[in-house]
Amino acid sequence: MTDPNTTLSHLDLAELATHEKPFLDANELVINMGPQHPATHGVLRVILRLDGEKVLGLECVIGYLHRGVEKIGEHRTYTMFNPYVDRMDYVAAVSNGLGYCETVEKLLNVEAPPRAQHVRVILTELNRIASHQLWLGTHALDIGAITPLFYTFRDREEILKIYEKYCGARLTTHAFRIGGLQYETYTGFEKEVKKFLNFFRPKIDEYEELLTTNRIWVERTKNVGAISAEDCIALGVTGPVLRASGVKWDLRKAQPYANYKNFDFDIPIGENGDTYDRYLVRMAEMRQSVRIIEQAVDALPEGPIMAKVPKVMKPPAGEVYHSIEAPKGELGYFIVSDGSTQPYRVRVRPPSFVNLQALDLMCRGELVADVIAVIGTLDIVLGEVDR
């Protein structure tokens, strides 16, 4: 660091020209981005320290959407808290519900019947596609490609229609119950899901045609916001961001939950850990989700959809940590029971919160415009960051 008290005559002008070091405090510009900014995907405030156009470092200010979800959990029964978790990551509400229900099932020592497990996998994977579609549309929009937004929202609608038909809700679905499912699938469910898969498969090619070899897209994303596998692990970053850095780790394979072990699918990984690789990984993940759903629909077994669970749930005193691979990364629940009808403590380990920590590292040395790209590629949902 250059001593700020140094007079100009002592400074090497050639060194200044390289922009390697900040020179004099006067040259460091601190600007504020957000909390009301369309590219921050919610109410995220970022304080940027700049040297010209170059980012020297940044600080995130979060908490604008804090609703005290964990505190609410301590004051509701296990069943009553179930719909609240949908409101954290509201674009992947089904995943949140799956993680919560499975954790309480572990505490109660019950297991959902096979048919319920299959339907859970179908709905959760549909949700992964919907979440990635929303990410793709908004991320591309931030970078300046407007068209993908219309395409992805048009196709996401088909998934939301399936949800609406299944449980009456489109976004915060409350699709699962502790012990299984509340509703049997509607008549023609399998046919409609398959119809969607056939409709959607060529659509992924369509998205890729718009972006993958698009010169502007490649220039704006390649080598932007790169992060190494070591840094990802040290920071606890999970999900597509970790996989794009080359770590082949997915909880669906590493510690299978629901009945993912019955399905055949690959874990797509990237090499460079940059924005472009994260884009490719998520595109490949959508194709893998299609594969999983197809197998699950074909093998959908008959049978009950609800395990035997007591009407008033009182899990024995104890504690359980359980996590699932949500579209954004590892979504964990740590629930402590004291033997009463309400959890003693519900801790949510949100993937977006932990991943957002990497923003500072990923943006250092990049340009201001790239901060927008990196926020988009992290795929954060502020409802989950702030809870």
């Binding site: 572990k106 606890g236 770590v247 359980v320 590892e330 740590f334 801790r347 380990r349 809870r387």
Partner: protein, 158 residues
């Protein structure tokens, strides 16, 4: 691994299992040491979560919990320690960089300070807020009315 740790630390460490999940309750004085051993010698390279629990009826009111994962072993472990109200615990930011925000959240919600943390301040609630909401003696409808009135210009947020 747990047997080895147990033989090295004796009564300072108690290994437990519930619902097939391993965790250990360790003495507060062992905290940075055990975590460092888990990270450096036992390959628990990913700090999944740091959180806390409040037991107001107990003498040592708080449990601080670390959830760790090892990619090499594909295994999870939890480390738990008990501390009294007002006491602090050693920070693990130097062990896992990702502990930074997680420790700040514990401080924000429970008022537990982490020694050696580079930036120990609130994260979700505003800096001037009074009280730590996840303590059991903090009511669910309670809020810092003074802060709300001054900063939001409304009588109450309820």
């Amino acid at each position: 691994m747990i047997a080895k740790l147990k033989s090295n630390y004796g009564s300072g460490l108690e290994p437990l299992t519930y619902a097939g999940q391993n965790y250990m309750v360790v003495d507060r004085s062992l905290i940075p040491e055990i975590l460092k051993i888990l990270r450096n010698e036992e390959q628990f390279d990913y700090c999944v979560d740091i959180t806390a629990l409040h037991h107001p009826q107990r003498e040592k009111q708080f449990d601080v919990v670390w959830v760790l994962y090892s990619f090499a072993r594909n295994e999870r472990i939890r480390v738990k320690t008990q501390i009294a109200d007002g006491a602090s615990v050693a920070s693990s930011v130097s062990i896992w960089a990702g502990a930074n925000w997680l420790e700040r959240e514990v401080f924000d919600m429970f008022g537990i300070k982490f020694d050696g943390h580079p930036d120990m301040k609130r994260i979700l609630l505003p800096d001037g807020w009074k009280g730590h909401p996840l303590r059991k003696d903090y009511g669910i409808l309670q809020q810092d009315n003074e802060w709300v009135q001054i900063n939001l210009g409304i009588e109450s947020g309820q």
